[in-house]
Symmetry: C2
Subunit: 401 residues, 2 copies
Amino acid sequence: MIREVTGGITVVPGIKAGGIQCGIKEAGKDLALIVSDPPAISAGLFSRNKVQAEPLKLTLDHIKYELTRAILVNSGNANCCTGPEGYSHAQELASLTAKYLQADPRAILLASTGIIGKKLPLEKIKTALPSLIKALSPEGGRAAAEAILTTDKTSKELAVEWNYRGQTFHLGGIAKGAGMIQPDMATMLCFLATDFNIERSLLQYALKKAVDKSFNRITIDGDTSTNDMVICLANGLARNERVCTKNQAYRAFQEALDHVTLALAHLIVQDGEGITKFIEIRVVGAATPRDAEAVARSLANSLLVKTAFFGEDPNWGRFMMAIGKAEARVNPNKISIAVDDLNLVQQGIAVLGAWEEKAREIFRKKEIRVVVDLNLGRAETVIWTSDLSTEYVRLNSQYLT
Amino acid sequence: MIREVTGGITVVPGIKAGGIQCGIKEAGKDLALIVSDPPAISAGLFSRNKVQAEPLKLTLDHIKYELTRAILVNSGNANCCTGPEGYSHAQELASLTAKYLQADPRAILLASTGIIGKKLPLEKIKTALPSLIKALSPEGGRAAAEAILTTDKTSKELAVEWNYRGQTFHLGGIAKGAGMIQPDMATMLCFLATDFNIERSLLQYALKKAVDKSFNRITIDGDTSTNDMVICLANGLARNERVCTKNQAYRAFQEALDHVTLALAHLIVQDGEGITKFIEIRVVGAATPRDAEAVARSLANSLLVKTAFFGEDPNWGRFMMAIGKAEARVNPNKISIAVDDLNLVQQGIAVLGAWEEKAREIFRKKEIRVVVDLNLGRAETVIWTSDLSTEYVRLNSQYLT
């Protein structure tokens, strides 16, 4: 039984965090540190964009070798497309943080989010590091959650507890989004921690499973960032016997991890600037999982579908267009479309009648569920997305480098 | 030597056309007819969307069998997702037109553009047909070009002449766009005619080649229509010896066809509602043509790249992001990016210096050329696209079904 609790990532025993302002951004906190005592095993998932930010490259390297002591995160500057100098800046920050924490440099992971192609203001971060170390506290989760934001309106954190065989476990996380909504402020980051004692490759497996069902199922604009990462630390402080197989203890942990990542993923979509609607697109009856995925993404990323939601217009012809253009097996005469519980199209034919007023009512809601049944098989998927508003375009065009 | 001439599609001997108002749309012409005397061989290319409009299905069927006498086109209603009734409406219109022209019904091709999923107002069209037949004239190209429009601001027509061995040939065309810019008004149509005498399968080959270099290289929003088609009629009235091989006469014809289709394709992009910029994206140095294509489309369809153009912001970090997310072989350290003749990125590193003001100046132009050099091979491609404006979103969300 999963219970949501307050306290964010620092609800986890052994985890301290802090967030301060070091002056990369014009205003607000912009430097965060998450520390685990004892050092934790860690698992990570990273952007598949072939253009990778320097801190991401460094983290990919460090996460292989050592137990992780800390994650240092800055907002306001992506340290991406900054070449060898950018990488050496990342190395210097890892070394310095390691020195303060008396750790190996490879025990430090790094993440950045912000403008691409601008030189990292290294001195500002170096100068601020001692204050950040001092600011670390077992109540610092919120401050860290705030310091990793760029244009997010609210900080995103969540923690849960669960019991297993009389023992209580903890898992907490912080995230920032959302979908490249502000120019170059373009990164989805998530940092998780748990006191669950689990074997490293199994933690990686569990994280991959959780992310595939959550962060990998949200889309705002189809653009993928150069800095995206999800990291999970597991410091084992619950002192359960180390879990190495997919037993019941593992399943309880996976459930907690799924719960936290899904909730954080939804918070990312809901906080998209310029976003007025939260849309769930469920595709069922596909011949293959790949087909379900292609149809769902074609709908979720179609400008005409997204503007129809913004316009509160139940314009199902656009849905048919987006389904038909997907690289997937589709029979137009078998497609059924429903919004919430109202059928708009049944086996390719419009369901006429008194639905129009009802459909408009549904499209005026803040959260809308679309179900597309391809009636060709048993594969299905779900994606969460948003509408596309004039405000999105305004924000993304008025922001100047 | 290709010369542009006035007169549009009816510059071609034997081609008459007309366009009238029959009342499908609230205002303006909405019914067009293009007739060839003598009947013409015809070639066609059609939307790859798996959801196909009924007139498109009928045309796919008819174009196989007979010489073509006429193309009947209506705007304001796509006759798509209208099921067996929609198809029988299309059949009835083909039969009736055939009767008026004393032709076989299969000599009539049909196209529609407009709202998806609404029943075609058959009686209005049937009632108007006799007037349309009367309106046919060798000067009617412009009226037909006007009658196929939906939300286009201007009609699109072009004609050329060329000489070959002392003989003059003609080719003319009309088109409507553009890229699903107005909700459900979502079709790219193009009708071409020539008096060149050419064998049918070679005409199909030439048309495919021309379309691959023109209409298949433009994108507004990545959405593909259920009704798209390009048809070329060749009535042989120039009475040259029928061309069956890729000889010099063929090459002159291909050049004329390329010229007209490319010009019409550019007119479609330039007339997109809400569009403020015409963007050429050229990708060179790709390892394979498929890679070049993937990178060009990733850039052309990225919301963040498109909004950067609208905002007149030389935000090359977004370009790097869009290149990196493409399903293509890419080495970030080898990517060079130029706008017009200004290098922004050289081998993955920003070209710093006095470029920023110059770059802003280029981004303020109405036409911008982007060249991405992947420095990995010799494959290249070009795509023409537009920016993404608040006006695009406004138009596509405020139009209600």
